[in-house]
Subunit: 296 residues, 2 copies
Amino acid sequence: MTSPFPLSAATVDYVDGSTRVYAIIGHPVQQVRSPQAITFELRRRGLNAILLPFDVAPASFDNVMTSLLAIGNLDGLIITVPHKIRARDLCSRVGPLAEISGSASVIARTADDKWVGELFDGMGCVAAIRNRGVDLEGRRILLLGVGGAGAGIAVELARHRPAEIHIHDPDRAKAMHVIERLSAHFPAQSFSVGLPALDGLDVVINASPVGMLDPERMPIEASRFPSHLVVMDVITDPAPTRLLRTAEESGCIAVYGREMFDSQIAGACDFLLAARQVGVNDVRFDRQPARLNQSE
Amino acid sequence: MTSPFPLSAATVDYVDGSTRVYAIIGHPVQQVRSPQAITFELRRRGLNAILLPFDVAPASFDNVMTSLLAIGNLDGLIITVPHKIRARDLCSRVGPLAEISGSASVIARTADDKWVGELFDGMGCVAAIRNRGVDLEGRRILLLGVGGAGAGIAVELARHRPAEIHIHDPDRAKAMHVIERLSAHFPAQSFSVGLPALDGLDVVINASPVGMLDPERMPIEASRFPSHLVVMDVITDPAPTRLLRTAEESGCIAVYGREMFDSQIAGACDFLLAARQVGVNDVRFDRQPARLNQSE
């Protein structure tokens, strides 16, 4: 510009007209950490992109999902409570973990403007436990809660051949339904419904929201755990939850929701960026299992 | 946390689960500067907020606008080409400048989840010219283009009592329609349609997109302008446009789109934040005229 005139130099440097948009859809959203972590990871890879929280109530979810495809520079979504099951239904195509679990946690726009989804919760949960040196093969595991996250964790647990997977959910029919589906895919795996004595378990995983909204509540009643127990909580905030605090006071290994979360970031970004490059029928879902196998 | 375990410290500090979302909706959006400027201004006021570009084609605009109300933490929108006229129609209530012009550039969510809109283009354009020491009263003005931005500028020009407002648009019927509406509100103002000789003018304002997509095109054919002419271009990128470059080479005062843009930022943020606090029937539209009066 050759003319001098007063202009504000007042701008930020992390967003402009070419920024690609990602969002995490949940209800509520205040507790989510994807905006910070996924945005960091996308930018580390050289992309001009930001992931924002979108607070969407269940009644509006279907309409919002359809309309978001009409925002041309919106490339993908992270899906959280309570939308993961509905998100899977709205995808034109899903990967095997979403298919078996019935829910999706990452939704990408394909080059031909379809939604394609996969579930990454299970991968992150199992990777977090294994990163603490705990092998799941032959172990007796109790999983608390089989909503979207819990169902995905159940699938991934089954892939690692534990001796027993106990599933407890306030909605017993839902737990039965998950076991029915999993049994078809993992016929050799032993499943049971209910709440066994803690002495007979090796690993307890909380995949329910109990402890998120009320930090003093616990998903199981216990003032102390057997010290051999590995206790994991998928909740990222508060940290530690009362469940994990009790586990640590009991001398247990306590695995935090944030560890699971961190394990999912890279895999989710891989999936979002690869799916965007191809048509819906050419999306490959073998990347995520391949990643798991590498860590074994 | 009392247990040591490996966690990524990899996050950004400008977005989290509580971030309030704003967007600029246009087609295309690469050229817009609101993401940088509005985000800066909102954060300067202490808000955890970001404005992102949303690229939405005209056929999808209505559906997207409805769905965006379902994103609970999305508080407001900037509207740009080609959606300003349709945006006005979708508001439950609009301010006087949007009412007269038939288009809206800023849309706020009210406390009762309605869209309320107002047009800020005209205010910014006139303020930018006046900031260069040019008084519009008694001047002969040519306005090129009466899309959403042009119509708003026409309203604000009329408020400043120029001797004559000439309006030229490839769609002559559209220019006539704008003059018809304006005449009802400003019965003493002289308007005419067409392209007069440049010698008989004081101010030329380009409010058309010519020069935005093809930097070598000009909205009027001229290799040189009379040096007394004030030439303004609403286009912010490229800067200068060929129109402004020619004006500067001719010794004219050349007023940049960015000057107009900067004048709108504070007003738009005032409106967005105030409307969010009240129900749709309690939104006040006298703030923006009051600001103009203060500068007179």
